[in-house]
């Protein structure tokens, strides 16, 4: 589905991605984990074509993303910090995005209703709290029923009720065979939502495997402990 090969990216002197290789396959749900500033968001933005890698290729369904844009029809993106025009109202924003997509297909408004955004449709974006913005971002990412969902720290800043609503939605869509790429620092969430894990540190992919396999290798029950154990062993699968 998504194929990342030998991707390098530097911002000035800082090497953000170094020879990153990753494959995201249909039906998989991938947790992208790593310390702050390890390159998670840059990797995501490279897939979306917002950041242009210095070298390497990224393909979505066998088509290179460089210079292309139509593949983004199949991707829903929830940014880490949703930034929207200040003066627009929530209702207008949703109408505008639907209009820009110009699809005749009915949109998936489930999250809009469940997160009670339709009740806020007259609120202007700049009056919203960070959490409400997150809700708007989440609703937009699911709106067009995309095959791939890229969620950058989806649960950060949401209230507990909304977190549960969002997680339920993710699990439901996962059942329907969608691909998820989720970054988060909340390991218990990822434990529930993902089947694979990609650990990035300083722009290098240190670990890429099934979560079940990681747990087996480390003998831990919980994802958080398993990752900690892996880090202690310096990412060697079988410590001798």
């Amino acid at each position: 589905m998504i194929e990342v090969r030998n991707v390098n990216k530097r911002f000035g002197k800082l090497e953000v991605l170094r020879e990153v290789n990753a494959t995201f396959q249909k039906g998989g749900s991938y947790a992208i984990v790593g310390p702050n500033g390890s390159g998670k968001t840059t990797l995501i933005k490279s897939i979306l074509g917002m950041v242009l890698p210095d070298s390497g290729t990224i393909e979505v369904d066998g088509e290179s993303v460089r210079g292309h844009w139509s593949y983004r029809e199949r991707i829903g993106y929830m940014p880490q910090i949703g930034r929207y025009p200040d003066n627009i109202k929530i209702g207008q924003l949703l109408t505008m995005i639907r209009d820009l997509r110009g699809t005749a297909k009915a949109t998936d408004d489930e999250l809009v209703h469940e997160l009670r955004l339709d009740e806020l449709s007259d609120k202007r974006m700049h009056t919203l709290s960070g959490g409400t913005r997150q809700k708007v971002s989440a609703a937009i990412s699911f709106l067009f029923d995309p095959a791939v969902l890229i969620l950058d720290e989806p649960t950060a800043g949401l209230d507990p009720l909304s977190v549960e609503i969002l997680k339920a939605k993710i699990l439901k869509e996962k059942e329907r065979g969608k691909v998820f790429l989720i970054t988060s620092h909340i390991m218990s969430d990822l434990d529930e939502l993902s089947s694979h894990i990609l650990y990035i540190e300083e722009g290098i992919v240190r670990y890429d495997n099934m979560i079940a396999e990681l747990k087996r290798q480390t003998g831990e029950e919980k994802l958080g402990r398993a990752i900690a154990g892996m880090m202690r062993n310096n990412f060697k699968a079988n410590p001798s």
Binding site: F11, L48, Y77, P79, N87, M96, D99
Partner: protein, 254 residues
């Protein structure tokens, strides 16, 4: 493209600055025409104001708007939309808004009230608007920092409106013993504001006041060829910064 332009235009019109700009220009135009019974003189006074105000407003408003719509651009980029389309839609939206304001505020009143050079006033004002919108795009795309972007835009304006003329005057004054016509022509071509000014001035029959160089310029710009030359230069002045900005925008990490 039309859809995005439409939404960007809504966004521009929501803050009423463009409306104020149009009204402001209109007040100036009508008051100058009512102060002077000779429409030619009124146009001359108007010209001096327009040549200052139009570039300044176009370049600063565009720069601020571009940085303010960064969020909108980010949102669009995560949707299945071509970067080129996003870029040109933004350019189109701002150009349409500012051109409409100029047309309403200066262009149409001048055409109605008449006077020599009215049509040239309209056309060169529009071209100047586009030149400075596209210079503003070049400045805003080059940096991520809003203050620096606005600073760069102001610098463009200072350079073309004030500094450049000072340099030309100094040059002409220092070398006044030599024939300067061709050099003056070349120097004028390098400044869009001067190009617009000369084209209108020469239509106003006051070139006699400008001495020998004025006569030479009248000979050149007075002809259809000269007009075509200056108009195409103004178009080039709006295209080149725009294409530079597009190139940068296509390679920009958002």
């Amino acid at each position: 493209m039309i859809r995005i332009t439409k939404h960007a235009l809504y966004d521009i019109l929501r803050n009423r600055f463009v409306l104020f700009y149009a009204v402001f220009l209109m007040i100036i135009t009508f008051s100058l025409f009512s102060l002077d019974s000779d429409p030619g003189k009124a146009i001359l006074s108007l010209l001096n104001i327009v040549l200052m105000v139009v570039p300044l407003v176009s370049i600063i408003f565009t720069t601020i708007y571009f940085f303010n719509s960064y969020e909108f651009i980010e949102l669009l980029l995560s949707q299945p939309i071509d970067r080129k389309v996003i870029f040109f839609s933004e350019f189109l939206a701002i150009s349409i808004a500012l051109s409409a304001a100029y047309l309403v505020g200066v262009g149409l009143p001048v055409l109605l009230l008449g006077g020599q050079g009215a049509l040239y006033m309209l056309v060169s004002g529009l071209l100047l608007t586009w030149v400075f919108v596209s210079l503003a795009f070049a400045a805003s795309v080059s940096t991520r920092d809003k203050a620096r972007g606005i600073g760069m835009s102001l610098l463009f304006w200072f350079y073309f409106s004030l500094i450049y003329d000072g340099l030309i005057l100094y040059l002409i004054y220092s070398f006044s013993d030599y024939p300067m016509e061709k050099l003056t022509l070349a120097l004028i071509s390098l400044n869009p504001v001067d190009l617009a000014r000369i084209v209108i001035l020469l239509k106003l029959d006051i070139s006699a006041l400008m001495g020998y160089t004025g006569a030479f310029l009248k000979n050149f710009f007075g002809t259809g060829l000269g007009i075509g030359y200056s108009m195409s230069l103004l178009v080039a002045w709006s295209l080149i910064p725009l294409l530079y900005a597009l190139r940068k925008f296509l390679r920009k990490d958002i």
